[in-house]
């Protein structure tokens, strides 16, 4: 962070709070692409790159103040669209007016913001009328920049944090069109059996059945249109949907790869997982096939050395999640009667032992199950300056973390993942929950060669299921070691990032804490933010950089589960037909 901050000290982003305060809405400040003069699109202010900070500051102040004064609202922008000359005259008049209004509020900038020329307008409408007229107006100074109505109108509707437009709301309410359900008759049998008795299959008119239907109130259907015969009453009422709605999450469908007729190696398992399609804003059910592959006995156990990290050990040892009663403490809430009796006996016998006679309740109980999910894909092969690949960094981090946690008595599992398309996401069970993390498992981890691609979402979903089913502890934590760069066949950029983020949200919604660590990877922070979303995440060149605050990271991730989570309740709407 320090190096990055140093590099950004000249970045115009430091004016963003000033701009936000003046505009009264969240506003970013960026260098204008291509050295274009200052302008704003309503979401960002673009300043001239490379000019003095004072210049940039007043550029930002003017543009933000224009936004704050409503001078660039949609009606104005529409009026200025395609009329660059009028826009320029408007900027000259309105800019002076806004600055004059602002000057008393910003006493320290009054000098920098001083412009010659009188203020000739008292409001937006008047400025607009003046600009459209023929009167001579002073030219705007260069730092006023220009107004780009097209940009303003383009982002006005879609900017982050902007209120939803009527069209957004309509889209949210639109019902998903449903195909006719073929088989689930019990749900869609809308025709009244009794009414059928009164239907006349011969007569063309269905007036009688309509009349009876209305009279008896038994028909749930509106009157059929002309041409429909009495024997074919159309049904068009609301039904329970048979397919998954956009917000309901399909459950994983377990695969049975082995059976009586085809016995295979023990431990092979898998499931079909849904995937989130951000473009259509709905799940694709049973989309990814995840296979869990156990690793056999390691051939060479010599490679299983573990780097010790004392800081990490100390930090994680302090992690306490539940209260535990400690006996014979020097201070505490209650008297420890056994200790008190011993003390009394000792005192009578002439000894004077230390007065450790209290019971103390401290948060020391752990009950923690951790699954370390390691990215074993080819995207982790990039080398760092020291010649170590990202994969090597992550692998070492996984070994150290798993060994440390196991020493501290937590339940640990280590899985690697890689993928080749959606039908082959492999979960390599380096160390399942039931096993010891012995030399064999360590050797496996060391010999894990990166291959394939990164379908992060499916791997996270499967890891969540493994944790829920096998951890057996009340506190469950998923540690994802990845470079934060999901990529696979048909799984790229925005789609992949959205799916990974969704998968993490689901897992957290199900009561599994998530911590995403990016070790040794050059992925920029913004990208990590997009992939990991609101899940706790941290990145560092090596694990030992994170060790001093690993307890905070763990606690931060786990504490989130202590709060009732509205998102979890929403996600609890499940796909009805695909249960375990």
């Amino acid at each position: 962070m320090t190096a990055a901050a140093g590099a950004r000290s000249g970045h115009p982003g430091r004016f963003r709070l000033l701009a936000t305060a003046l505009a009264g809405r969240p506003l970013g400040v960026e260098d204008a692409p291509g050295g274009d003069g200052p302008y704003t699109d309503g979401v960002n202010v673009f300043v001239s790159p490379g000019v003095a900070a004072d210049d940039q500051r007043r550029q930002v102040v003017l543009q933000a103040a224009l936004l704050g004064a409503g001078s660039l609202d949609a009606p104005v922008a529409r009026a200025l669209r395609g009329r660059p000359k009028v826009a320029r005259r408007y900027l000259a008049v309105e800019g002076r007016r806004v600055l004059a209004d602002l000057a008393p509020r910003l006493p320290s900038l009054a000098l920098a913001l001083a412009v010659d020329g009188p203020v000739v307008s008292t409001g937006v409408e008047e400025s607009l009328a003046l600009a459209s007229g023929r009167a001579r107006l002073p030219e705007p100074p260069a730092w006023f920049g220009r107004i780009r109505p097209g940009r303003l109108l383009g982002t006005a509707a879609a900017g982050p944090g902007s209120p939803p437009t009527p069209s957004d709301l309509r889209a949210a309410l639109a019902l998903t069109p449903e195909a006719e359900a073929g088989e689930d008759d019990d749900e869609s049998g809308e025709e009244s059996k009794l009414l059928k008795l009164f239907q006349n299959p011969l007569a063309k008119s269905n007036a009688l059945s309509e009349f009876l239907g209305r009279l008896l109130g038994m028909s749930r259907t509106p009157a059929p249109g002309p041409g429909a015969s009495g024997g074919d009453l159309a049904t068009a009422a609301a039904r329970r949907v048979g397919a998954v709605g956009p917000d309901a999450r399909p459950l994983p469908v377990p695969l049975s790869l082995t059976g009586d007729e085809a016995p295979g190696p023990a431990g092979v398992g898998g499931a079909l997982y849904p995937e989130w399609d951000v473009h259509k804003a709905r799940y694709r059910p049973e989309w990814c096939r995840v296979l869990e592959i156990p690793l056999g006995p390691a051939a060479d156990v010599a490679a299983g050395a573990v780097e010790r990290d004392q800081v990490l050990h100390r930090r994680l040892a302090r992690l306490g999640l539940g209260p535990k009663v400690l006996r014979r403490r020097p201070d505490g809430d209650d008297l420890d009667v056994d200790a008190l009796i011993d003390l009394a006996v000792d005192l009578r016998a002439g000894h004077s032992p230390a007065e450790h006679v209290y019971l103390e309740r401290r948060k020391l109980a752990r009950n923690l199950g951790v699954l370390v999910l390691l990215d074993a894909s080819g995207s982790a092969t990039d080398l760092d300056p020291a010649g170590r690949s990202v994969h090597e960094h992550q692998r070492r981090a996984a070994v150290t973390l798993a060994a440390t946690l196991e020493e501290l008595g937590d339940r640990v599992a280590v899985y690697g993942f890689r993928s080749r398309g959606r039908s082959a996401v492999e979960m390599l069970a380096v160390k399942p929950f039931g096993h010891r993390f012995g030399a064999g498992g360590r050797a496996h981890l060391h010999r894990l060669a990166p291959a394939g691609y990164t379908r992060l979402g499916a791997a996270v979903r499967h890891a969540g299921e493994v944790l829920k089913a096998q951890a057996g502890t009340p506190n469950r934590l998923l540690v994802v070691l990845s470079d934060g760069f999901p990529f696979d066949d048909g799984y790229e950029s925005r789609y992949a990032e959205a799916d990974a983020r969704k998968a993490l949200e689901e897992v957290r919604g199900d009561g599994v804490a998530c911590l995403c660590l990016s070790i040794g990877a050059p992925t920029p922070t913004e990208s990590l933010d997009r992939v990991f979303g609101s899940a706790s995440h941290a990145s560092a060149p090596v694990l030992s950089d994170l060790s001093p605050r690993m307890d905070e990271l763990f606690l931060g991730a786990l504490k989130e589960l202590a709060v009732p989570n509205p998102a979890a309740r929403r996600n609890a709407v499940r796909f009805p037909s695909a249960g375990w």
Binding site: R14, L18, G24, R105, S108, A344, L347, E355
Partner: protein, 269 residues
Amino acid sequence: MGVPRPVEADLAAPFYRPVGDEVEVFLAAARRGLPVLLKGPTGCGKTRFVEAMAHRLGRGLVTVAGHEDLTSADLVGRFLLKGGETVWVDGPLTRAVRDGAICYLDEVVEARQDTTVVIHPLTDHRRQLPVDRLGIVLDAEPGFQLVISYNPGYQSVLKDLKDSTRQRFVAIELGFPPPDVETDVVAHEAEVDRDTAAALVAVGQAIRNLAASPLREVASTRALILAGSMAAAGLSLRRAVQSAVVDILSDDPDLAAALGELVDAVLPR
């Protein structure tokens, strides 16, 4: 452990400038001995408000700061070993119950939930404090009143008051005072002139009104008073704001720089 002493009632009245009708609400609750829940952001004057009310009512005040290891024994009392025997020592809550004082539990959500349950019998019609370890039930003296404070949306979103606890209280919502009142408060507390105080309040307002603020917290009245005190002690106003507001609100150098730009623009040079 140290047992908090009641604040002496004969000191000079604590400075408190009412903003709305909070004083009337508190006095009405005090007349009937009803427990009060004070809500409001950190540093908006909750503690000062309770001090002022205790002074006005002429009652003692026992303050307990909540922390996450606060146990019921810390509130009620415990046996301590003295010489060869065990001696009972009243906790702050028991002391307030016996003396008829106002007991102010600051940031009570920080405490463990099993601790907050101790106050339940005190907050309904019973007004009793069962002391299990002594096997007695204490009836609260007439002047006894329980006041707790609570920061909604503070870092302890992780913790929340249980509904069964919440519904026993009369709530008073305190916010940051309006600019003119806040200017008075800052000028009085920091001992600076009104212009300086007004400039500080302008900074506070600018930070509080940021839309979609990236800051976890905003500049509280207390932070502004701190900045004012630093200025009164001879520091330049800009430097005082930097040390008492900007560097406090953010550890992120990027964000601190952005905040510095905002402060620069608002403060008179």
